[in-house]
């Protein structure tokens, strides 16, 4: 196919805009970086109370027989801490951040007459990455009693339940960002590889702001930081369309080319993040702590609140797309852009709105995901492929499909960790993606006619 490329020199405005946007973005982020950095250096960060990552569990010799005073030693990543079970048999240890840990049950700490069911299997490898609350199982029983098989099954059920809850929470975060990808793809046909950086952008801006607003009381600090972050994220989306994609569209640049441009943007922005944020992981502490038991799963209140916020926003986005004029116009553009244009819809304006909306939703996803697992410079890039997988599984360009796909991917990554090594959880999601494409290329909800 022929490529229409007018000479570069004819579009000085495009270049200027891109450079200006990029400089503005860098300046903005750098400015925030300086502010945040000075705030951090002025007062050392408080100890991580209500830490993002905890490891824990219940030690009991059968149902209704919790063991008090059992000790579990957690080591790794520079910490060595012992968790002691309370009267309800629960123990937990706060972790400083993502990483590899080991947890070892001290058999001598068990009361007389109680011993581990598997005496030669007392150490567990813990890989803290996306799941903020990790439950460990140390089966114990009456001395000499044969291991109770039913308990193993019940414990497995507990673990699966825990992962299902985590999977739904993770899936909701993914959905917020995936709907952004899906809307952009639907209206413009573009696969945006810089979308992961939009997630990171939200998380990093929120991190700097929550550090700057540390003196403020909860929940004012969160609300203020959240609102500013969402506005900045929307502006980031706006800038990408205004500075890059609008000029590319009006030049008739092909989609593959535009996609490679987003790859370049992703790379450049990601390393701007490295320079201003560093390569370490930081936890987001908004002064909100505590946890709640949902069945066997212990979930922090922050995660519960985040999940509720995600669900509410997703419902609002659904209402926006189906009930409002702009939402309906958005769907019309997704269906057939030239027909929409012919019936009087300003396609460029809709696309601009979609970019701002996608930026805001994705920034929010970054904030919530950052609260869940901490903030790092490549947190968005790490889940970019999961986002593509969610969007592809749901059916490219279908917003509702993106939600279904995201929940599916969230559940698949978390629940597979029950049986598979933790470090293969993302691989599983991607294997599922490829297998589904084999059987149903249009995704779960996509229409067959759209493909090829």
């Amino acid at each position: 196919m022929r490529l229409a490329v007018p000479p570069a020199l004819r579009m000085p405005r495009g270049l200027t805009l891109i450079v200006a946007t990029f400089v503005a973005a860098v300046a903005m982020v750098l400015g925030l970086g300086v502010a945040g950095a000075s705030a951090t250096s002025a007062t050392p960060a408080p100890p991580a109370e209500g830490a993002q990552f905890t490891v824990g569990g219940i030690i009991q010799a059968g149902p209704g027989n919790p063991i008090e005073g059992a000790e579990v030693l957690v080591e790794g990543n520079g910490i060595e801490e012992t968790g002691v079970t309370g009267a309800d048999g629960r123990w937990s240890v706060a972790l400083p951040g993502p990483g590899e840990y080991t947890a070892t049950l001290d058999p001598d700490s068990l009361p007389e007459g109680i011993e581990p069911t598997q005496p030669d299997n007392l150490t567990r490898q813990v890989n803290a990455s996306t799941t903020s609350t990790i439950n460990l199982l140390f089966p114990v029983g009456e001395e000499g009693a044969a291991p109770v098989v039913r308990d193993e099954g019940a414990l497995l059920a507990d673990r699966i339940w825990t992962q299902v809850v985590n999977g739904i929470i993770f899936g909701l975060f993914l959905a917020l960002a995936a709907i952004g990808i899906s809307l952009i793809f639907g209206t413009t046909g573009l696969n945006n590889f810089a979308h992961g950086e939009m997630v990171t952008f939200g998380a990093i801006v929120f991190w700097f702001l929550s550090a700057a607003f540390r003196e403020m009381a909860f929940p004012l600090n969160v609300i203020l930081a959240g609102v500013i972050t969402l506005v900045a994220s929307g502006a980031f989306g706006w800038a990408q369309d205004a500075g890059i994609h609008k000029p590319l569209r009006s030049r008739g640049v092909k989609l593959v080319q535009a996609m490679i441009v987003t790859i370049g943007l992703s790379l450049a922005v990601r390393y701007v993040f490295v320079i201003i944020f560093g390569t370490g992981d930081q936890t987001l502490n908004v002064g909100f702590s505590g946890a709640v038991d949902i069945g066997a799963a212990r979930v922090s209140w922050t995660s519960v609140a985040s999940a509720i916020i995600s669900a509410v926003i997703l419902v609002l986005v659904g209402l926006f797309l189906t009930r409002t004029r702009i939402g309906k116009a958005t769907r019309a553009v997704s269906d057939n852009a030239s027909l929409a244009a012919a019936s009087g819809i300003n396609v460029d304006r809709i696309i601009r709105i979609v970019w701002v909306l996608a930026g805001t939703l994705t920034g929010l996803s970054g904030v919530l995901y950052g609260l869940y697992r901490g903030v790092s410079w490549d947190m968005g890039f790490q889940i970019l492929l999961l986002l593509f997988a969610a969007v592809t599984l749901g059916g490219l360009g279908s917003a509702f499909g993106a939600l279904v796909g995201a929940l599916f991917i969230g559940l698949a990554t978390e629940v597979s960790a029950v049986w598979l090594p933790n470090d293969l959880r993302y691989a599983i999601a991607l294997v599922i993606l490829i297998l589904v494409l084999l059987v149903r290329p249009q995704g779960f909800l996509g229409r067959k006619e759209r493909i090829g």
Partner: protein, 326 residues
């Protein structure tokens, strides 16, 4: 600032084995993307497959170099089939997503703790190149001039690496001037038109995917000769670097991948040397040396954007035959 060292380091990149590995991988992408129009975003996966195939065949099975190289080719072919079978009938962007996903699956699998006895887990593998260097016919000693002074082993790895690049270049040139090349270029332009002329488009796409993939696998082999196999090296950024340098040289040109790889590494080394020099000598005070080391990635990203927007045919590409498709 020591300009001599900075310049010397930069110029020596022209012949480095890493440059040869990138050039080889880029020739593979030029077959896929430049000539056939296939969006393979998983070249890092092919390189990882090649690297691990060689290392595991050598360390795990104790195979000689030639057998390990056959293993590299075989593993790349198998990987290409696994990628191509589900996706080559689908729209172009599906291939992009599946290849990038598959490359990441490879990276996750080779770095998983459970496979540490085979792949070395997160720390990777080393000590596999003894057999390769034992084949070195050059007597011990140091040869060369200026920045191009290497030990006998240094020469050996460069000779082998660049010989592979030369063979690949000639092979691709022969193919692309042939009727076979005409068919794949036709597919790049419009696969339905080629189908309507009685060509089995699916089969040609698969052949192209296999050829470029094997070149990627061999690039993985060259890449690990001077270093250990480390799973962290095979992230998606590697694929995007290869796309950048290919677009720099011109995606559908014979020498584009080679020239692009050389420019890419010389410019990276030069800019990195200058920035680090400026930081260390205190002229630039707002960056730490660590941060300065990251600026090159920003340069690559911005260069990729500007190239694609303003010079899609590459610096040396033919302006008439623009190097983009789809």
């Amino acid at each position: 600032m020591d300009w001599g060292t900075i310049l010397g380091n930069a110029i020596s990149q022209i012949a480095s084995p890493t440059t040869a590995a990138y050039a080889l991988a880029a020739i593979g992408i030029s077959v896929h993307f430049g000539y056939t129009g296939l969006l393979n975003f998983g070249q890092a996966g092919f390189m990882a497959i090649g690297a691990y195939a060689f290392a595991i065949a050598t360390l795990g099975f104790g195979w000689p170099v030639w057998a390990a190289l056959l293993m590299v080719i075989l593993a790349s072919v198998v990987f290409a089939f696994i990628l191509g079978l589900p996706t080559l009938r689908l729209r172009a962007d599906y291939l992009a997503i599946v290849t990038i996903a598959a490359a990441e699956i490879v990276r996750y699998v080779v770095s998983t703790t459970g496979l540490t006895p085979v792949t070395g887990g997160a720390s990777g593998l080393s000590g596999f190149s003894g057999g390769f260097y034992a084949l070195n016919p050059i007597p011990e000693g140091t040869y060369g001039f200026g920045p191009f002074t290497y030990t006998a082993d240094g020469w050996w790895v460069r000779i082998v690496g660049w010989t592979l690049v030369a063979i690949a270049t000639v092979l691709v040139w022969l193919l692309m001037r042939s009727p076979w090349g005409r068919v794949v270029k036709g597919i790049r332009e419009d696969e339905d038109a080629v189908r309507s002329l009685g060509k089995n488009v699916y089969s040609y796409k698969m052949q192209s995917l296999v050829l470029g993939g094997v070149l990627g696998g061999l690039a993985g082999f060259v890449f690990i000769l001077p270093r250990a196999v480390q799973p962290g090296n095979y992230g998606t950024a590697l694929t995007f670097f290869i796309y950048t340098l290919l677009l720099l040289g011109g995606a559908a040109t014979v020498f584009g991948p080679i020239v692009g790889a050389m420019i890419f590494w010389v410019v990276l080394s030069l800019s990195n040397g200058i920035i680090v020099g400026l930081v260390e000598s205190g002229i630039v005070s707002f960056l730490t040396p660590d941060q300065a080391g990251q600026i090159r990635f920003i340069i690559v990203g911005v260069a990729l954007m500007l190239l694609v927007i303003f010079r899609p045919q590459g610096i040396f590409g033919n302006k008439k035959e623009l190097s983009f498709s789809v």
